[in-house]
Amino acid sequence: MSEALFTELTVFILAIFIGVEVISKVPTTLHTPLMSATNAIHGIVLVGAILVAGTFDAPFNAIVGVILVILASLNVFGGFTVTERMLEMFKPRPIVAKKDND
């Protein structure tokens, strides 16, 4: 294993620890938005897709390249959109409605 790979492994392992720490604080009521938000975040593979499909020495034919970029963009844009839409729905107890009840 090269020094570079070991450094990357270090970053990976520490990031896992941060992930576990942060995610374990997400309440169960938000677990579906959490999943769609992580869908958006793993859309970061779009960075890799652009590097592989868009650079000078791109090995793919154009169609495969476009499909690759589409797949990754789907996650990014779809993930953030649907997460935002879901989170908009989560409302605290309405104060006005309470008054109606009394």
């Binding site: 677990h31 938005p33 959490l34 592989v52 997460t83 409302k91």
Partner: protein, 467 residues
């Protein structure tokens, strides 16, 4: 190192990593969650702007791909029904896994073009194979999960004799193929063999998993796609991919373990147990007798809940199928007007993905403080007049506490049978997904209201208004 120069692109990637972590942190409360989502989106924007400075020449490929992907993504994100979120997440998992595998394949081809005839370094081939295998597995597995959730194919486990043996052989083929690629032997041939084998394995490993176990599978595939993205980071030696992938991997893994715990089953049991398959010999003959089942009308239910002090609603997948969440909310409004206290009890595996019921009820404008987790609500059933079960079955089955022979024995359940009255809304007396008898239905204090959940609730609502 005089005058240290830092590549600004790497600074941008660091910013992205930080924004992703902060974004997830803000998901710790519904109050701050939207800010979190937006921070993460800004982080993504930073990374994308940065990568566009990295010698992109095929602009039209990037532009066309992003525009089409964004159009489809934003459109489907806006119109998807909340009941269909599990399918949506499954599709995104698949797309992410597929993209990761393609990136790795592209890097392999690039490497081979750049070093014709030379052996490829271990670091590269190893990480490329890892990415391709995990990516292909999650791509193919997610497609099957999607088809099952969308009910294009049966939600029941699909099993056949020698299934485990077939899977083991294919897994071996994946590993052998990867080994040959890493050993620089007939690289392309073995690469495609390993890739096709990994795709088949993805298909075959989700086929025997039943619909009720989908929360575990969707979470696990989410974790896989995260790991695939991280592995892409190793291939491209790109920290932002490694960090983001690790975050997603951690999230998916935590949710997977949580779901397993909520069913009192190990993840291996979920994946290989074919839970809910129809076992020959133990068919419907042994099912709940049905003799003691008491069926009531919507008017009876209305009278019961309208004069109650406290009602707990227990939603399940049946509520999602019937799209009954808005009617449920209307019923709760009517009851609250009459001074009845209404709470919702959410079992961790109710529905088809983690948090599925919460999102549906949020969509119907139920305030999130009214939704209670299993551990918080269980002590309250004892002082509750009516437990109203809407399309939930196994998560309310008292056999999980009492019957050592029940397949779900030991699974933590909602203690609905402790309530003074239990009302079960159900389509028919057919046993639940797992085909397990539910002695709750024979309990003298249980009354059944048969029919489509939405129609039944609507009938109860009009009856309550008339009370």
């Amino acid at each position: 190192m005089a005058g240290v120069t830092v590549n600004p692109v790497n600074v941008a990637y660091l910013v992205t990593g930080i924004l992703f972590i902060l974004g997830l942190r803000y998901l710790s409360s519904p109050r701050t969650a939207r800010l979190g989502n937006r921070l993460a989106a800004v982080g993504m924007l930073v990374a994308l702007v940065a990568v566009l400075t990295q010698g992109i020449v095929q602009w039209w490929i990037v532009a066309l791909g992003v525009v089409v992907g964004a159009a489809i993504g934003i459109y489907s994100g806006r119109v998807v029904k909340m009941t269909a979120m599990p399918q949506m997440v499954a599709l995104f998992n698949g797309a992410g896994g597929g993209a990761a595998a393609l990136v790795a394949a592209g890097e392999l081809l690039k490497l081979m073009n750049a070093n014709p005839g030379e052996p490829l370094p271990f670091d590269q081939t190893f990480t490329i194979m890892l990415t391709s295998i995990i990516g292909a597995l999650s791509f193919a597995g997610s497609i099957i999960a999607f088809l099952k959730l969308q009910e294009v194919m049966t939600g029941r486990p699909i099993t056949y004799p020698g299934q485990q043996v077939v899977n083991a052989v294919i897994l071996l083929l994946v590993l052998v193929g990867a080994g040959f690629v890493i050993a620089n032997t007939n690289i392309l041939t073995w690469y495609w063999i390993a890739l096709v084998a990994a795709l088949s394995l993805g298909v075959l490993f989700v086929l025997p998993i039943g619909g009720a176990d989908m929360p575990v599978v969707v979470s696990l595939l989410n974790s896989f796609t995260g790991l695939a993205a991280a592995a892409t980071g190793f291939v491209l030696q790109n920290n932002v991919l490694i960090i983001s992938g690790a975050l997603v991997g951690a999230s998916g893994t935590l949710l997977t373990l949580l779901m397993g715990k909520a069913m009192n089953r190990s993840i291996t049991n979920v994946l290989f147990g074919a839970f809910g398959s129809v076992k020959p010999g133990t068919s419907a003959s042994s099912s709940t007798s049905g003799q003691n089942v008491r069926s009531v009308s919507a008017d009876d239910v209305a009278a019961l809940v309208a004069y109650a002090n406290a009602v707990i609603v227990v939603p399940g997948y049946g509520m999602a199928v019937a799209q009954a969440q808005h009617s449920v909310r209307e019923l709760a409004d009517q009851l609250e007007k009459r001074g009845v206290e209404v709470k919702y009890a959410i079992h961790p595996v109710a529905g088809r993905m983690p948090g599925h019921m919460n999102v549906l009820l949020a969509e119907a404008n139920v305030p999130y403080p009214a939704l209670y987790d299993m551990d918080d609500i269980n002590p309250e059933f004892e002082r509750t007049d009516v437990a109203l079960i809407i399309g939930a079955n196994d998560v309310t089955n008292p056999a999980a506490r009492t019957d050592k022979n029940s397949p779900i024995y030991g699974m933590p359940i909602l203690n609905v049978d402790k309530a003074a009255n239990v009302i079960v809304l159900k389509r028919s007396m057919k046993p639940g997904f797992a085909g397990i008898d539910n002695p709750l239905y024979d309990d003298p204090k249980t009354a059944m209201l048969f029919g489509d959940a939405k129609k039944s609730i609507d009938a109860v609502v009009s009856a309550v208004k008339a009370v």
